[in-house]
Amino acid sequence: MSSHREAPEISMDPVADSTDVYAFVSPDQPDTVTLIANYIPLQGPAGGPNFYQFGDDVIYDINIDTNGHGEADITYQFRFQTEVEDPDTFLYNVGPITSLSSPNWNRRQTYTVTRIDRTGQHVLGRKLITPPCNIGPLSTPNYESALAGPAVNALSDGSKVFAGQRAEGFYVDLGSIFDLGNLRPFQNLNVFGKADGLRAAPGVNATKFLNVHSIALQVPISRVTASGRPVIGVWTTASRQRVRLHGSEQGEVVNSGPFRQVSRLGNPLVNEVLIPMGRKDFWNTQPPAHDKQFAQYVAHPELAGLLPVLYPGVFPNLAALDKAKTARADLEAILLTGIPKGIVSGFTNFTGSVQADMLRLNTSIPPASSPNTLGLLGGDPAGFPNGRRVFDDVVSVELRAIAGVTFALVDSTFKPDAAAGELTDGLTPADLGTPYLDSFPYLGVPYDGYDHPSS
């Protein structure tokens, strides 16, 4: 997964578990950037009666580094509050929820947005409402037009915000990846798949018909960049108070102490795939500015060593690179510093020498008229790893990069294996269960529980 359930501790705390971060110049509003942080992974749409919601006891931040030091110069902070109209019913809704003010909606959640920057803390919106979860055609009719659309709010600084349930937009064949890397399009080449006589098969999207909760912002570029520095670094964090007590008289949980970061996400798959099990939860507590301590896992990724073992004879050049213990300067640039000028013609998202896992977006690059889901690898500099759009195929891009495709950019004597440029988990946006939207918040209408009861 991009970062769903990626570390042992946070996998047991879904409301604080960040799953994906997106940052891109808005295709329909190119003087703005859209920043999206997703939380609460793998939601079955029928998960009632207590349908999914953000944590009232969690602080959610979208952080922006404007000068390359790996620390937040601007933070958009989100705090949620749940209100129950009638505590004497077990029902989420007592009739159709036809509008955000419907009296039939029993448990609703509002939120406050605060911008924190060098001038101080500025509340941009209070009591903003999240839409209900998409329950089904009787409970939440006309979901997008009546409920989700009206929940897009204008903030006092000219930005737009949305917080609520969305269809999962990240597509990935988890079933094959975590079954000993048995990528379905290449099962016949996998050492175990070959032994079992498996034949190549189409990829299967494990997140199809599942939902997430999104926090989405659309902000004028001028509000999130420093003068003369068009590249920003973006990541999200979730924080909880240090102490959590169970067993009060009313059955409530009581929290105490200062907030501490428990979840972090910048580039997709970094904590998931590169950081070893014993350090994943610690990684989640650290700021990007301290990522030098993890740089060894980027420079020498475990997966690069596994690919030649899982696919014998398919990656001889990668195997030689691994055997020579060559530091992967390509991955360090893509994930930790940004790509300097001169590596990819006409492109850079370099932020300086500080190694920090952030999603780096060069905001001066306009949206693509014909986007390529492989982003920069596909010749489209408006896509990952220049930020990340909702449809970018980050699994294939990172598999190929780790397999050595991008190492040739920093060492012209290296010849990537032919298979490296073909690596994929066999999926495209066509494998989603519902399309992305053309406008903010871009992620699709969440699947309803009535029509997707067994997701």
């Binding site: 602080i59 933070t75 924080s239 108070q241 102490v243 009581v254 105490s256 102490g257 200062p258 907030f259």
Partner: protein, 117 residues
């Protein structure tokens, strides 16, 4: 002595630049909890007053600056949670509202440990 995390070190330096505990920092820890709760080795319940000790040192960790505005000051009814990190050196954390105080007081730690049995 357990190693302090950077935030605790910064708070300790701010609270006690000399590192030995000025008279004003010599701890009189008042625990006047509306509701109590257990740390790893201790529970603070009801109104308890611990007399100060010469070796006691107190360091306050305020909320992260990014999170401070979102948090109201601790109310008098907020529970106080005491966590004895290492009784042998008197290393204690006291949580209230969104703040945390680090106390170093062997006698206090020993009394809490005794009270927990």
């Amino acid at each position: 002595m357990p190693e302090l995390d950077p935030a605790d070190r910064a708070a300790a330096r701010q609270a006690d630049p000399a590192g030995a505990g000025s008279p004003s920092r010599r701890s009189v820890l008042r625990v006047a909890a509306g509701a109590g709760a257990a740390g790893v080795a201790a529970t603070a319940l009801g109104r308890i007053t611990f007399p100060g000790r010469a070796e006691a040192v107190q360091a306050r960790t305020e909320p992260d600056a990014r999170h401070a505005a979102a948090e109201p000051d601790a109310a008098s009814s907020d529970p106080i949670v005491v966590h004895v990190r290492d009784a042998s050196v008197g290393d204690i954390e006291v949580f209230r509202g969104t703040t945390q105080v680090r106390v170093h007081d062997r006698d206090l730690a020993a009394r809490i440990v005794r009270a927990s049995r």
